[in-house]
Symmetry: C2
Subunit: 205 residues, 2 copies
């Protein structure tokens, strides 16, 4: 199909598609003349993925480009680490990870002190502590157990017949299921609060 057909099929305007082509998010179509190219179902699927990364995961164009590049890796751990770097919170190299490492060790997990996720945990713990809500030991256990149960289920579902499928599952499962988990936590708060304090009045959300 031409670019106009791709726009119609995907619901993404032609100007936006051209922008994604220029930014390297969408691979070029197959050239059919000096000024025209043809696109296929793979481009439609890629556009859906780009929109999910930008609109739902909330990534910048540069971050989405990195996540898309990570999908092409044949090293699942390396791809996941690259994708995690693009997720909030943004962290510098120079982060004091002592409190985060203590948290990980209290959960009897292992990680490298310079791993992206432990630096992100360090920044998140510090922010909570700074506003007077440091993570308590019981919060650590409850949040840690919940995260571990989710991870067990996630990892059990990793496709094992293809490295490309495994990488895609790991990267997109990290990036796109995070908003699902957060929305479920917000809904669970409503549910538990209603069970404990009675439902809020109509109009509350």
């Amino acid at each position: 199909m031409r670019i106009s057909g791709l726009a119609a099929e995907s619901g993404v305007p032609v100007a936006t598609i051209k922008y994604y082509l220029r930014e390297g998010l969408l691979p070029a179509g197959r050239a059919t003349s000096a000024t025209q190219a043809t696109y296929d179902a793979a481009h439609v699927a890629r556009l859906r993925l780009i929109r999910a990364l930008l609109d739902v995961a909330g990534l910048s164009v540069a971050a989405a480009r990195e996540v898309l590049a990570a999908l092409g890796s044949d090293d699942v751990f390396e791809a996941l680490a690259r994708a995690q770097e693009e997720l909030p919170p943004r962290v510098g190299r120079e982060v004091d990870t002592d409190a985060a490492m203590a948290t990980v060790q209290a959960l009897r997990w292992h990680t490298a002190p310079d791993s992206t996720a432990v630096r992100q945990l360090a920044v998140a713990l510090d922010a909570a502590a700074q506003v007077g809500m440091p993570l308590t030991a019981s919060q650590r256990e409850v949040y840690g157990r919940a995260a571990y149960a989710i991870a067990q289920h996630d990892v059990a579902g990793v496709p094992t017949d293809s490295l490309a499928d495994a990488t895609r599952y790991a990267v997109l499962g990290t990036v796109l299921l995070e908003p699902v988990l957060l929305a479920l936590r917000r809904l669970a708060h409503q549910q538990v609060a209603a069970e404990r304090f009675g439902a809020p009045g109509p109009g509350s959300s």
Copy 2:
């Protein structure tokens, strides 16, 4: 203290403090002359909170202003709903919430179809489905149970002696513990993957 002292105390540059004052994130100091004002410990604490919202929760200045305004509400549910509106993913009013409502009902939770969190869940579920990773029934149960366990612990900790404290706990607990939960999930993935597939080599993160 003068604005220079506030900058020294908080580590936030004077120009940035002036920007937060103009944007209404930081309340004005007490005027001591036509061109000078004095600031106190409450301003230092507020600056810490502003930085946590911007740098760690990743909010825009406009979104941070809304979350800060919600902290002043004496209706916990209304404050939480206002704060949730500012969190990603951004959703419009016109969202098809059928799949999200079905998910909530399968978990035997209750919510209004127009609540912010259910519209955010709808957008997140749609994005995952669009890239070929729809939430499975077992994922729904595992993620739902994990979110519920977290919410039970969170709600049990709500301060009950002051509405202002309860609002602050609910709003900041939602906004600032989300990055903690996500970092823990990323670390749990590493841990479970290492248990199952063997640890990745040095240099992986």
